[in-house]
Amino acid sequence: MAESKQSAEATVSDVQKKIRAAFEAFDYESNNTVDVREIGTIIYSLGCFPSQADLHDLIAEVEEDQTGYIHLDSFLPVMSKVLLEHKFPPIPEDLLLQAFEVLDKEKKGYLEHEELTKYMTQEGELFTQEEVDEMLTALADHEKNVVYYKDLINQLTIDPDM
């Protein structure tokens, strides 16, 4: 019993260290605060996959009354809970593949610029035009101008435990 308590404590402190490390990368003034606009990046980089709605809820919980800043003291307990409870787990590869296949109605094995743009900017948690452009630049095959999603999923899978 004592051992599992010890390991539980170890996990909590481990998790907290991870959160601190990620937070510090954006704490430009070294005063334990980050700009609220960066919090999404921090949460994502800790291995979580929240939806936009989840993100908004989280931010609402930790933001300092409209100042535009988030303090580590508020962020740490909330984020620790998120990580310890595995609240926003990663998307399994096969599910991601299916998602792409759903959009690829003709089962071509790739998605064209227009197709992807249409879905990303009109459905779901809308991308801005800028986000789509960036996505296409990063992911599309240069010559053929299409996105071979099967290859992508293999190449861009997330690192194990950060």
């Binding site: 990620a22 990368a25 990046t41 994502y44 996959f49 948690e125 990063a138 992911l139 997330i158 950060m162």
Partner: protein
């Protein structure tokens, strides 16, 4: 959560394709992609941080080395061997008359062979010739040393006419173009001229320092800048940077570049450049409202003081000025070579900006680690004190003996601050520990300074920025950096700024290198990361002994494994780079050592095997000596070049031994005569008792087993890696 996924799967399987499906799919993809981008951004920041901390610790190492050598100077008896070895770099400008200098720098008897296919210059220089030089360099020609010397002499004459602070105006609706650090990257200068046209009567330019070092075309950049300065003296302005300094050049590649491009006359060219650097103006003020300087300011910066200094006395900003003592006969003594002189004419303070002097016992019985610990401890205290008390940086200099109201020490510190300081986000003004010179200054200091001098903006360079520029201090300070791809291909853009009579900065960004266009965003980020990763692995390898020691301390059961948390803290305690090791673990711990079982611990012996860095084939040499070599490679090379007084590229066996002795004192390491002989034997192929510096450094280079690239040097080694040779190599 589990429920969500089974539900989603259920929908896919049962309902077939419907618009509800499309939405859910889109959501998944969007979420996945946003996550991917965030992680990429995080990694980019760490990569940047790696390069930057290694770059700055290199600068710090240089200053520490210089301080150490200065300490030796102060504490060895005049006749000792060690002192003679290095005394020449402390020698002040010899008191010579102009006629003597002219003889030394005379180019007239240098013949230009018929075979020479580069540009020929006639003086006075014309615009066509200046433009011709740009073209010639674009076509990879080299200017003959005769013309180089001639050009430099004319430049020297011109610069001596200039004041310490250039004052220019944008009247006649002229826009001035300001460029930041170029660091020998000719491609960037060519790109700027392409986008913005070359300097002319209608197109004034200001170049804000750091023209040389790191890049491979420093001398060509200087030649171009000086040519335009001569042709358009009222339209082209130059500010001195911290790299316009022969001491810094010894480490960062400019000295080497000149000596290798100009084998016969390189030494003379470098000597003349020393003078030219010291005559470069320190600052520029535009329309009495905008200050342009290379580094920054401190809370004691005073433009009226700076306007009055004899700037050419400061050959190297790292060296405080000589105190001129009057002896009984009333003649001033300048040379410190006076035999038997008991006057400590050369009063050097061992530290640059730390108010407390470092005494003799700081160096004895202390390792380099101790030394830096002590500095760090001092620093923390200093920072705390100065944070609470804004104001001048503790004037309790106990070595200052001046009774003048503005001592030469103060003057020197003013120049140092101007060339080396960096802005910080917090209020106050503290010593710049990271670089080892100048200070960090806060927004309150900016505000105060601008008010006092009736200015509205400070434009400075000195720091690499990803977008080529960055505003801070409420947009009152603009950092401008013009060397794109500085850390690595794809690492950053360069920028220049245009300032018209409205004094509103208009920024233009660019990125050189034809390779960039072919790399997708994903590839170029990955490439930078791999490069930084390699640099880091080399550093880790070079600290193997200390790291193993640290791991063992945390491995109580002696299992050869440590937990991830312990691994990270042990690594930081040895490397002291302030990097997020835990987050980087997945990139640094690979192969079998990464097969973390349930307890995610790391087999540290296996980890060193997996680092895949190969050391020199030198089994006969002591492990810790080898590591010293790798770690302090840049320092060692710098000392070699200092010792090589005639700049021949060779040093005698005797001097080689002396150098190692110096290094052993510096690092507080025991290095036996035998060990030194072993080292020499490794590379003295001609057996003639002289060591080829290049050959030696090459023999002890670390190579990366993973990378196919074995040419070029990593950033850690002090010179910029020449990645332009990598055209088409998909693995890099």
């Amino acid at each position: 959560m589990f429920r969500y996924f089974t539900q989603a799967k259920h929908i896919f399987v049962v309902e077939g394709i419907s618009s509800c499906c499309a939405i859910k799919s889109a959501v998944l993809i969007q979420r996945w992609y946003r996550q991917f981008v965030a992680r990429k951004e995080m990694r980019r920041r760490y990569t940047w941080h790696i390069f930057q901390s290694i770059e700055y610790s290199g600068e710090q190492a240089q200053i520490k080395l210089y301080n150490f050598l200065g300490y030796l100077m102060d504490n060895f008896t005049p006749a000792s061997n060690e002192r003679n070895l290095i005394s020449h770099i402390f020698r002040e400008n010899e008191v010579c008359r102009d006629a003597e200098w002219e003889r030394y720098f005379c180019y007239k008897n240098i013949e230009v062979p018929d075979l020479y296919s580069g540009p020929h210059l006639t003086f006075p220089l014309t615009v066509e010739q200046a433009v011709g030089l740009v073209e010639a360099f674009r076509n990879k020609k080299q200017l003959h040393s005769r013309y180089v010397l001639q050009l430099l002499l004319e430049t020297w004459k011109q610069l001596r006419l200039l004041p310490n602070i250039n004052r220019i105006s944008t009247c006649h609706s002229k826009e001035i173009t300001i460029c930041g650090d170029l660091h020998g990257q000719l491609e960037d200068l060519l790109l700027i001229f392409y986008k913005n046209d070359m300097p002319s009567l209608e197109k004034p330019y200001l170049f804000n320092g750091d023209f040389v070092d790191r890049g491979k075309d420093s001398i060509e950049i200087l030649i171009i800048l000086f040519s335009f300065l001569l042709v358009y003296p009222s339209e082209v302005y130059l500010n001195r940077g911290n790299h316009e300094d022969h001491i810094v050049n010894l480490r960062y590649g400019f000295t080497k570049e000149v000596l290798s491009k100009y084998r016969m006359h390189g030494k003379r060219i470098l000597k003349l450049l020393q003078k030219i650097f010291s005559w470069l103006p320190l600052a520029t003020v535009i329309d009495q409202k905008v200050l342009v300087i290379h580094g920054g300011i401190s809370n004691t910066t005073d433009l009226s003081v700076l306007a009055r200094v004899d700037r050419h006395n400061y050959n190297s900003a790292l060296r405080p000025p000589k105190k001129r003592h009057q002896n009984v006969a009333g003649k001033s003594i300048d040379s410190d070579e006076e035999a038997g002189s008991t006057n400590k004419v050369f009063q050097r303070r061992p530290s640059l900006t730390f108010p407390r002097t470092l005494t003799k016992d700081c160096f004895q019985n202390r390792s380099l680690q101790d030394f830096s610990d002590r500095l760090r401890a001092n620093t923390v205290e200093e920072v705390e004190i100065h944070k609470r008390l804004p104001g001048p940086l503790g004037p309790e200099n106990d070595t200052s003996q001046s009774c003048e109201s503005i001592s030469s020490e103060d003057e020197w510190r003013q120049i140092l601050d101007l060339l080396w300081s960096d802005p910080m986000a917090q209020d106050g003004c503290v010593p710049n520990e990271v670089r080892g010179g100048g200070c960090y200054w806060g927004p309150d200091v900016t505000e105060d300074f601008l008010n006092r001098h009736n200015l509205q903006l400070i434009i400075r360079s000195h720091e690499c920025k990803q977008e080529g520029y960055e505003f801070c201090h409420n947009r009152k300070v603009l950092t401008l950096f013009s060397a794109s791809n500085y850390y690595d291909v794809g690492s950053n853009r360069g920028a220049y700024v245009k300032l018209g009579p409205d004094l509103v900065p208009y920024l233009v960004q660019y990125q050189a290198s034809s390779m960039i266009r072919e790399l997708s965003v994903r590839q170029s980020a990955g490439r930078s990361e791999r490069s930084a990763n390699k640099v880091l692995r080399e550093q880790l390898f070079a600290h193997k002994s200390d790291l193993i020691c640290a791991f063992k301390k945390l491995d109580s059961g002696n299992k050869g494994r440590v937990s991830l948390a312990n691994w990270a803290s042990a690594v930081e305690s040895v490397m002291r780079l302030g990097l997020p090791w835990r987050i980087m673990r997945s990139q640094l711990v690979t192969g079998r050592s990464a097969d973390s079982s349930i307890d995610s611990s790391i087999d540290y012996y296996e980890w060193f095997n997996e680092l895949a860095i190969k050391g020199a084939n030198a089994d006969h040499i002591d492990q810790s000596l080898l590591e010293t070599l790798y770690r302090h490679r840049s320092t060692l090379e710098t000392i070699f070049r200092i010792v090589d007084t005639d700049n021949s590229g060779f040093i005698t066996m005797e001097d080689f031994r002396q150098t190692w002795k110096l290094l052993s004192v510096y690092l507080k390491m025991e290095i036996t005569e035998e060990a030194i002989s072993d080292l020499a034997v490794t590379i003295d192929s001609n057996q003639d008792g002289s060591i080829d510096i290049e050959e030696f450094m090459e023999a002890f280079r670390l190579t990366d087993k993973k990378s196919r690239l074995e040419r070029g040097r990593s950033m850690f080694m002090g010179t910029a890696s020449d990645l332009t040779k990598l055209e088409g190599d998909p693995n890099i």
